[in-house]
Symmetry: C2
Subunit: 152 residues, 2 copies
């Protein structure tokens, strides 16, 4: 797999940001994700659904993974997420052999992306100011909800 | 939290085994799980739903976690599973601070339970012959489906 260029990473991130904004508009936690295939096709997209569905298992990444349905292999796929993936979502990436993770930002929450890099996953960290602002504002306004979502 | 006695662990495992058997009867992958509260109350139970719902995100443990709904804290809870948890489900346990994992067997699949133990999770490994037989038979009859479920 060739290394990703930043322009494509930012284009794909915009799909995840649109999901995060949709979640926010629904009164939810503003984290979005998208799973892209090895050929660049969008396989699935989604956002955190804790508030909307009362479902703690649907983080942004698991939601995008679920939307992609059954896949025979995740080789060459890219998980794009507005926020550094928590251990739950990092475990998803490792178990299923997702090849690359594009991370919008890891400033408001530092999840398992270093661990994934150690285990051979390509990490593209974008330090995106829009992603960081979305989370910073949300955490300030809803600290208890955010802590619930990360088990703290 | 006091250490778990084996009689209680085996009693709780029977709930997970019943889930695994229900999944098998539906034509699915025979892995079941249950989440118990600190007070011993059953919070949620479920089984792998890849085949039944075409949903790769519903492993047994995530299914039980989902069925338990939103919880403010997982301190003192126990995840009981018929099979050693994969990285995805191990990440779930670590992220949400689930205190203990009862594992039916780790012979047919060795997941992340050692990693969890290193990170302070109490692991009760039961080496249950019924759990092992369920998986051994399933893997023999449906190797491709099993490999799909663990991303291999």
């Amino acid at each position: 797999m060739e290394r990703m260029d930043q322009a494509r990473a930012r284009m794909w991130l915009s799909t995840a940001v649109a999901e995060a904004r949709a979640g926010l508009a629904e009164g939810g936690i503003p984290i979005g994700a998208a799973l892209y295939g090895a050929d660049g096709a969008l396989l699935g997209r989604g956002h955190n659904r804790r508030v909307q569905d009362g479902d703690p298992s649907m983080h942004a990444e698991t939601s995008a993974f679920r939307a992609a349905g059954r896949q025979r292999s995740y080789r060459g796929t890219t998980m794009v997420t507005t926020l550094s993936p928590c251990w739950y979502c990092s475990g998803l990436v490792r178990q299923f052999g997702i090849s690359r993770v594009v991370v919008g930002e890891a400033e408001t929450f530092h999840g398992g992306h270093d661990w994934l890099a150690e285990h051979g996953v390509e990490i593209v960290l974008l330090d995106d100011p829009e992603c960081a602002a979305l989370m910073r504002d949300f955490i300030k306004d809803h600290p208890a909800l955010w802590n619930e979502d990360i088990g703290e």
